[in-house]
């Protein structure tokens, strides 16, 4: 049972309970006499939290069920600790960059760090965020229950913990947001010490001098950033022919130039890891057998100090008893949903009253996508039809320098254009033209805007450089508001800021707005919103 911290000045509206809950009356719902709650949310991660807050705003009696720690992956095993590590190690990297500092007239002696101190910073942050999250729910009247829940039917959940009887609760609507776990390819054994996933990597129990990272997506890149900042070396192993296959081609090339080439990193691409033999920290190396992805021939054997498996994440749906709803799992273990986040049964029909958001539906495995989907689901269940345009959800990679994007890559946009008979245009700009970036002597980077040449509809924006993760929102919000390139021309950007990179990008986009009926562009936006993303 989570305790409210002694210093909290927020009065408790409701207390949490572990005993069986009896039926209560609710002012807001016509079905209040039938169900315990208007909404049960299974999983208190970022998705569940976002959905819960929005539900309370809409006047729904809400309860959130959590079987492990509040905050889910993001707070405990993902975004929060990794950003703390990146912040600390990023500073080590900067302070050790004598040349960069000398160019600004600064001289620094030896910069030292201790892994424990860095880990402590991350741990502290996790604890704080976890507490904030549960406080923010309790203070607005959300019931936070502890237990692993499973479906009895589409309005009934039974929950329990090994040491707790739990109970059974009913609701008009139920949202599944049970999240995901790190995916581990077959043949790889995790020992948590020398062969590990991001879950263990974030614990930073020791600093391996040479780490092989399987997977070159954003998780692999961020860890490579952390390890190399502290002086370790990294070898990437990627199954696809080129590194960072999910990124836009220009960004991947620049990332290769800024994040890989100048650092103590090398890479093998087009290669599977077929066997990993764990070692002993600092004594026995980890052996990895690499085979060609196409021919299956043995390519090489690596001997490194540690191996990080960063091949993606798998939706977690264990023990939900989805059979009771006649719901199966799609490829990869995801729960199928429609655009409104309603769960679909094996025959494709909508399961009434059951929704699924976040990593569990694998539409877009990002924390803020989960909460956006949660808000959309709550809107739909309260009678306001809402479809989240996933193209307007930004994504960011917190390497140094940062990478961010929203929408389609140029390759995806060209494919769309070819398939649907329109043409696209691309505007590109370099960070070198930006005074703020030059003032910081961090002018490596670029930005890219892909748009339809006939309507000016924004298809995708990609940024790599200083503050990229913050700058993307102008673009993502523009897409969400259905703005075109012509509308953006009126945006004002403070000088001197890095946002002027976007200003430059917009100015470079050659486009004159023709007379166009509003229907055409929004219909196309709807069509594009149906795209699925895994990242």
């Amino acid at each position: 049972m989570p305790k409210r911290p002694a210093h909290s000045s927020i009065p408790a509206v409701r207390t949490t309970q572990t005993s069986e809950i009896t039926t209560r009356a609710s002012a807001s719902s016509a079905d209040s006499l039938t169900y315990d709650y208007d909404l049960i949310i299974i999983g208190c991660g970022v998705g569940g939290h976002g959905a819960a807050l929005h539900a309370i705003e809409k006047g729904l009696r809400t309860c959130v069920l959590e079987s492990d720690v509040v905050g889910g992956t993001c707070v405990n095993r993902g975004c929060v600790p990794s950003k703390a590590l990146l912040a600390a190690t990023g500073r080590v990297r900067d302070l050790r960059n004598k040349m960069h500092l000398a160019s600004m007239g600064i001289r620094v002696g030896d910069v030292d760090f201790d892994v424990e101190g860095i880990r402590h910073h991350a741990d502290q942050l996790v604890t704080t965020m976890r507490t904030n999250l549960s406080n923010s729910l309790e203070s607005v009247g959300v019931d936070l229950l502890r237990g692993h829940g499973y479906f009895v039917d589409n309005h009934t959940i039974t929950y329990e913990l090994p040491d707790d009887k739990g109970g059974t609760i009913t609701a008009k609507d139920i949202i599944i947001c049970t999240g995901s776990v790190p995916a581990v390819p077959p043949g790889i054994q995790i020992d948590g010490k020398t062969v590990f996933s991001s879950d263990d990597a974030l614990k930073m129990s020791w600093l391996p001098p040479w780490v092989a990272i399987i997977g070159s997506g954003y998780i692999g890149l961020e860890f490579a950033d952390i390890y190399t900042a502290l002086g370790s070396e990294v070898t990437f192993i990627e199954a696809v022919d080129k590194l960072m296959p999910a990124f836009d081609g220009d960004i991947a090339r620049m990332a290769n130039r800024l994040l890989i080439q100048p650092r103590h990193i090398d890479a093998h691409s087009g290669v599977f890891v077929t066997k990993v033999i764990p070692g002993i920290p600092n004594k026995v190396p980890v052996k990895l057998e690499l085979t060609d992805a196409k021919t299956g021939e043995a390519v090489d054997t690596l001997e490194v100090d540690a191996c990080l498996v960063a091949t993606g994440r798998s939706p977690y749906t264990d023990g939900l008893n989805l059979d009771a709803l006649n719901v199966g799992l799609a490829k990869g273990g995801a729960i199928s949903v429609n655009d409104k986040m309603q769960v679909l049964a094996k025959d494709g029909s909508i399961v009434e009253g059951v929704w699924c958001i976040g990593d569990a539906n694998a539409r877009m495995m990002l924390a803020h996508a989960a909460s956006a989907q949660g808000i959309s689901a709550v809107e739909n269940m309260t009678g306001n039809e809402n479809v989240l345009n996933h193209l307007s959800v930004p994504a960011a990679c917190f390497t140094h320098p940062e990478i961010s994007f929203c929408g389609l890559t140029e390759e995806q946009a060209r494919a769309e254009a070819e398939a649907n008979g329109f043409s696209i245009a691309v505007s590109k700009t370099s960070y070198k033209a930006n005074s703020k970036a030059q003032a910081e002597n961090e002018a490596d980077g670029m930005a890219k805007l892909i748009y339809r040449s006939d309507t000016g509809e924004i298809l995708g924006v990609h940024i790599m450089g200083l503050h990229a993760a913050d700058l993307i929102h102008e673009a993502s919000n523009a897409i969400a508001a259905n703005q075109t390139v012509a509308d953006l021309k009126f945006n004002v950007h403070a000088h001197p800021t890095t946002s002027e990179v976007i200003d430059e990008l917009i100015r470079n986009a050659k486009f004159t707005a023709p007379e166009l009926a509003a229907d055409d562009s929004s219909a196309h936006a709807d069509a594009m919103a149906k795209k699925t993303f895994t990242h």
């Binding site: 960059n97 004598k98 040349m99 000398a102 001289r107 001098p209 040479w210 070396e233 990294v234 070898t235 090339r253 620049m254 290769n256 130039r257 080439q261 100048p262 650092r263 103590h264 990193i265 090398d266 890479a267 093998h268 691409s269 087009g270 290669v271 600092n282 004594k283 026995v284 190396p285 690499l290 060609d292 390519v299 090489d300 054997t301 690596l302 001997e303 100090d305 370099s430 070198k432």
Partner: protein, 480 residues
């Protein structure tokens, strides 16, 4: 732009390419440039792999138009890497009718970009970044080397199979590669014991000597060119080389400007130079300066004008020799220039830098106009806004340290020029005139450093005599 970096090859060896297709991406200091091929054919062999640097004009790859040419191209490429040593770098590549070379494009506007057939990259072309980056050597032993060790090996031209690893389970770490490279080139020199200093400082020849002929010795066993392909890796070796000299305060790698200056100064060692000096009486010149200064004429403009006027009578002194571009020195030609472009050496006020803005056609420009042009050039030089034809088009250079009280010095000849004039300070000297009367006159010592392969002592002396006459009777300068 004098060098670029190959970012990525969009086509691989063996691919067919169409005219106009982008085949590689090159990085300049501004942005990435897509490079298209003008002809179609097969990309037969890549000389400069992704990640390597190359000079403008250097061969990056061979394109073969027909099947047979592919074999010839491959042989050429193999021959190029096998025969790379410092002495042979100047040989021009054999030209084949059917094979085209894809070269690094020079950005428009740089009329004097370096065109060199020397290949700078001393890397082993077999060490590609590929799936089998650490494949077994011929003996069948697997080589385990860390990523940084592989990068250092590539940039130092070291074969990993030759290196003994000191890491866990015998893996090769970067320090092992560097130690191996140091042993190989230094002949036993370590960072602590600097028996062989690879960078001997060039002390200028004694200033006491007035007029003599000498030839500077060729630099003995200069170390192989090391490629600093990334900004981070160059610090450690520099620090190691000089650690014996009383503890390192801080290490700052050369800026692009400093690098260019260093390279040019080093190149001057290839030229046999001599120096001739003369003392010039400054009384009349300074009086004229006093009258013209309120009208905006600067002392630099006046010197430039005096020098230009003198040079018109001695065209050999502002000619260029084409021995720079390789070939036997005996086969060279002297290229006489139609105009006198006077370059004046200036230092940058806020950073360590040296640049030579050029006053073009100085012989036909009056001093007022020269002064105006000079002010503009100076302003833009200091804000680094000069284009290459404003600082690289000089055919005679003036260097003035008189304002520092330097009595006399000898400047180093810039590449491609026949002579450079070093002006000292103007000091009151007790002199005797023709009638034996003693007086005090302002005298300035000038030293002319010249290319003695083509300019002889008498040529230099005659020029200085003309110059002296003009400076001592400067009224002629105002009537041009």
């Amino acid at each position: 732009m004098t060098t670029g970096k190959v970012v990525e090859w969009m086509k691989q060896e063996g691919d067919t390419v169409e005219s106009g297709e982008c085949i590689l991406v090159v990085e300049s200091d501004k942005a990435d440039m897509d490079v298209e091929t003008f002809s179609q054919g097969t990309l037969a062999s890549i000389i400069a792999p992704a990640g390597s640097e190359a000079k403008v004009g250097e061969c990056l790859a061979y394109l073969a138009e027909t099947e047979e040419d592919i074999k010839i191209a491959r042989a050429l490429a193999a021959g190029l890497s096998a025969s790379m040593s410092e002495q042979e770098l100047d040989k021009p590549l054999p030209k084949q009718a059917h094979i085209e070379t894809s070269t690094v494009p020079a950005p428009s506007g740089s009329s004097s970009s370096e065109v060199s057939t020397a290949a700078a990259v001393a890397s082993d072309p077999a060490m590609k970044q590929s799936k089998s980056a650490s494949s077994s050597s011929s003996s069948g032993m697997r080589i385990v080397a860390t990523p940084y060790a592989k990068k250092r090996a590539k940039s130092l031209g070291v074969t990993l199979g030759d290196v003994v690893g000191s890491g866990i389970s015998g893996r090769i770490v970067a320090e092992d590669v560097e130690y191996f490279a140091a042993q190989r080139s230094g002949g036993g020199a370590t960072a602590e014991h600097v028996a062989h200093d690879p960078y001997p400082t060039q002390t200028p020849v004694s200033a006491a000597a007035q007029s003599y002929v000498h030839s500077l010795p060729r630099p003995s066993s200069a170390p192989p060119a090391t490629i600093q392909s990334s900004s981070g890796s160059s610090l450690a070796p520099a620090a190691k080389r000089f650690s014996a000299r009383g503890g390192i305060s801080h290490v700052i790698p050369l800026t692009a400007m400093e690098s260019a200056v260093a390279i040019n100064m080093q190149r001057s060692l290839d030229v046999a130079v001599a120096v001739v000096a003369v003392d010039i009486e400054m009384t009349q010149f300074e009086k004229l300066y006093g009258r013209l200064k309120p009208k905006g004429v600067t002392i630099t403009a006046m010197f430039a004008k005096a020098v230009a006027s003198a040079l018109t009578k001695h065209p050999l002194l502002y000619a260029t020799c084409d021995a720079e571009t390789g070939g036997d020195i005996g086969d060279s030609a002297i290229i006489y220039n139609s105009h006198v472009n006077v370059a004046v050496a200036v230092s940058m006020p806020n950073e360590h830098g040296l640049i030579t803005p050029v006053l073009e056609k100085a012989e036909e420009t009056d001093m007022f106009e020269l002064a105006r042009k000079w002010r503009d050039l100076l302003k833009r030089a200091r804000s680094k806004n000069l284009s290459p034809n404003e600082y690289a088009s000089g055919n005679f250079t003036i260097s003035n340290l008189g304002m520092y009280g330097v009595k006399s010095f000898q400047a180093i000849l810039p590449p491609g020029q026949s002579a450079i004039l070093a002006l000292g300070s103007s000091n009151p000297i007790v002199t005797a005139d023709d009638h034996g009367f003693i007086g005090v006159r302002n005298m300035m010592t000038v030293n002319l450093t010249f290319d003695h392969r083509f300019v002889y002592g008498t040529d230099a002396a005659e020029f200085l005599r003309t110059l002296r006459a003009i400076i001592e009777n400067p009224e002629l300068l105002t009537s041009s």
